[in-house]
């Protein structure tokens, strides 16, 4: 019970009701509960055994001393944090910072543009609606490689190659389809009549948006932002090509830090893997609900 109270309350009543209904006899119930508990335990172990080993393995590799790195029987050892120290010393904090800033600004830009669009598509009927909506969703299907070259040429023409601005511009564009889709499904939960009656009552457009729509769409905006952020953070191919020196991102730096072929590459690789994964783990822990909701809605991820 205590564990369950930690997680969302939405299943509580439901599960309680089921437990009530299942209680046809006290003895049968306890036998069933024991079986069920064993069953749950086995399932939890299986689930964790499937998901966790690669994470634990990366963490272990990143703190295993260089000399015994390829010694696989050595599971217990005095950990070394040399690689994390090297990471800070090697100036790789700057690319991680660039990633953080550009991913955040990109995510915010996406949410603003996609939010406005999704609202319109949800609450307004107009002639070209379907066409425009499809137009926004269409890029979802382009493999990233397809648009790399023209984008590089465009950025060059604009003089934006190797700038953080270029990354923000691109990131916004990448995630608009996804965010529009997610927000559209979130706005679908907002009764249309609510906005319509407000409009009939003479409420102004900004009032409708800020007083009625935005508060209701809060979780959706959050989900869209988090997902945009994560995809921006993970993006590799575009930063590799369109940035050079001043706006290098963490994902590109990972590759370079590990490619010194005279070093034993695995330890360093694992260290950056861990560092790149930390924000993801934090997001999962902090925003489980929104993420689940966002991902379910955004199955058509961009």
């Amino acid at each position: 019970m205590d564990v369950r109270s930690l997680v969302s309350g939405e299943t509580e009543g439901d599960a309680g009701a089921r437990a009530l209904r299942a209680s046809t006899g006290a003895r049968r119930r306890s036998a069933l509960a024991v079986r069920r508990a064993r069953w749950h335990l086995a399932g939890i172990v299986a689930l964790l055994a499937w998901t966790l080993p690669p994470f634990l393995y990366l963490v272990m590799l990143s703190i295993k001393p260089e000399r015994i790195l390829i010694d696989r029987s050595a599971l217990f050892f005095v950990p070394t944090f040399e690689r994390y120290r090297d990471f800070v010393a090697s100036g790789l904090a700057a690319p991680i910072w660039t990633s953080l800033v550009t991913s955040t600004l990109g995510g915010l830009g996406t949410v603003v543009l996609a939010g406005l669009a999704a609202m319109t598509f949800r609450f307004l009927d107009f002639k070209a609606k379907t066409v425009l909506f499809l137009l926004i969703l269409l890029p979802r299907m382009f493999p990233p490689v397809t648009t790399l070259i023209p984008i590089q040429l465009t950025l060059k023409a604009l003089g934006l190659i190797d700038t953080k601005t270029a990354l923000v511009i691109l990131f916004i564009g990448f995630e608009i389809p996804l965010a529009t889709w997610i927000l559209h499904t979130f706005f679908a939960d907002v009764p249309r009549e609510l906005a319509e009656s407000a409009a009939l009552d003479g409420a102004s457009l900004p009032a409708i948006v800020t007083k009625i729509l935005l508060p209701l769409a809060g979780p959706g905006l959050l989900a869209a932002f988090i997902l945009s952020f994560i995809f921006n953070w993970n993006e590799f191919l575009f930063p590799l090509i369109v940035t050079s020196f001043n706006a290098r991102t963490g994902s590109v730096a990972i590759m370079s830090f590990t490619a010194g072929y005279k070093k034993l590459q695995w330890g360093a690789l694992a260290t950056l893997g861990v560092i790149m994964t930390i924000p993801v783990v934090l997001f999962v822990l902090a925003f489980r609900q929104s993420l689940v909701r966002g991902f379910t809605a955004g199955a058509l991820k961009g």
Binding site: R67, Q152, I241, A259, Y261
Partner: protein, 466 residues
């Protein structure tokens, strides 16, 4: 019902954090653009120890000159791609570009780098380069059309590192003589190398030098990762078997599936049985770690790769048990056949600091500067005669000096890669075929015939042949 509210709190916290990020994030932008009177040169290269050392020394030497160097490291093969694409799209960010000798034809044809000769306009500038000091056996790969395209930094002569204790062991000597009918010695031909590799390949539980092994032991250790590592090891065997490197420069006809080429490939695929398992995913550094853990009899690699791991006590269990020798051969007319590999520092064609870049490059890669780099990276194999013969180098870097003397005195048959601007592409085609043959995906003949067809198609597209 608590959920939505706490979500809203989190969202608010998120917005505040984002705004803070924005403020702080943009401030360093304005700072970094106003460097305090220093000229900043950027370096595009791989994160190799010798280049980390180079950057460090360049900053020391550059400081009184008002020049600093900031590196941007990328994976080795991506450096080539990045330099090409950036120069084609007019990116002016770079000043220095790392080049490997196989990249010189491609980068120079694409006008991505400037020849060093362009800077040698005055006697003073020429004497800063000291062109006559270069050991041509090592630097010829960085030359093309009579011009030097990069300041030579590190020679990568391919050699063997072998376990002296194994080759001197009486039990092993006796067993070898009994099995092969000739005495155990350092292989002079690839046939002998195959015998030695086969002989020393042992499973855990078998004996080596009279002691039971608790781990497998490998006859020969090589790095076969795709992306250049495989081809840069295989190419020496190709030359030793009398084959051309991919095509005949006189007729421009691709020769991937020539009889010599097929014989060399078959040999390498057969030798693969005696290499360390997983060699396909190893770079030079990874392979030398296996050798350093005492699990291999012979390693074949670029000299500095071996020197930076095998004699270093922190990394190696075979310190003092290793000696270096020239590669074997297969044709008597091509003794110690090898391909001359080297890397150097090129000046990016769109640099905005031409003069500063040249000035600092010559200041760091002259005799004195090279010695300073060697202090940071003792495995550096220098390409200047004045450095090799420096008494200080001779005493302080004995392993380098001895190995390099062996190399220079052995007068190896050295070829250099031909001036084909699509060399990297052709090499990639060949390497993929080798990988297919080694994994058993295709027979050697099928793989090389397929690669031949692809290289022919490439040459036709470029109009070299009809």
């Amino acid at each position: 019902m608590l959920q939505p509210r706490s979500d809203r709190h989190r969202a608010a916290a998120g917005v505040v954090t984002a705004l803070l990020l924005l403020l702080v994030g943009l401030s360093p932008l304005s700072q970094s653009s106003h460097a305090q009177g220093m000229t900043t040169l950027t370096f595009l290269g791989p994160d190799f120890d010798e280049w980390v050392a180079f950057v460090k020394v360049a900053n020391q030497i550059g400081k009184p000159m008002g020049i600093q160097v900031k590196p941007d490291y990328l994976p080795w093969d991506d450096v080539f791609q990045k330099a090409l694409i950036d120069s084609k799209s007019g990116v002016r960010t770079w000043d220095y570009v790392y080049v490997y000798n196989t990249w010189v034809p491609g980068l120079s044809a694409a006008k991505a780098i400037l020849p060093i000769n362009d800077f040698m306009t005055s006697p003073a500038a020429t004497s800063a380069v000291q062109p006559n000091d270069f050991i041509t056996l090592t630097t010829a790969g960085l030359e093309l059309n009579g011009k030097l395209w990069a300041m030579p930094m590190l020679a990568a002569p391919y050699m063997m590192a072998y376990r002296t204790d194994l080759f001197a062991n009486p039990i092993e000597k006796k067993a070898f003589q009994a099995k092969y009918g000739y005495p155990l010695a350092l292989p002079q031909t690839y046939k002998q190398l195959m015998d030695v590799a086969q002989f020393f390949t042992r499973k855990a539980g078998e004996k080596l030098m009279g002691k039971t092994l608790d781990q497998d032991f490998y006859g020969v250790v090589l790095a076969n990762k795709s992306g250049g590592f495989l081809f840069h090891r295989y190419e020496h065997i190709l030359v030793a078997y009398g084959a051309n490197l991919i095509y005949d420069p006189k007729t421009m006809q691709p020769t991937v599936n020539s009889p010599q080429g097929i014989a060399a490939a078959k040999y390498y695929v057969a030798l693969h049985k005696y290499m360390e398992p997983g060699s396909e995913s190893l770079t030079g550094g990874g392979a030398e770690r296996i050798m350093a853990s005492g699990r291999g009899a012979i390693a074949m690699d670029a000299l500095d790769n071996m020197l930076s791991v095998l004699p270093v006590a922190k990394l190696s269990k075979v310190v003092g048990k290793i000696n270096y020798a020239l590669l074997p051969t297969q044709l008597a007319s091509r003794p110690h056949a090898n391909v001359g590999d080297a890397n150097g520092l090129a000046i990016y064609a769109l640099t905005q600091h031409r003069d500063a870049a040249f000035k600092l490059a010559t200041a760091v890669l002259n005799t004195q500067g090279t010695k300073q780099v060697m202090k940071e990276y003792p495995a550096l194999v220098p390409m200047r005669a004045s450095v090799i013969h420096d008494p200080e180098v001779r005493t302080n870097y004995a392993p380098v000096f001895n190995a390099m003397s062996t190399f220079l005195n052995g007068k190896p048959y050295t070829v250099f890669i031909p001036p084909l601007k699509e060399w990297v592409q052709a090499q990639d085609i060949y390497e993929q075929a080798m990988s297919a043959a080694m994994s058993g995906q295709q027979s050697v003949e099928d793989a090389l015939n397929g690669a031949q067809a692809k290289v022919v198609a490439l040459f036709k597209r470029q109009g070299y042949i009809k």
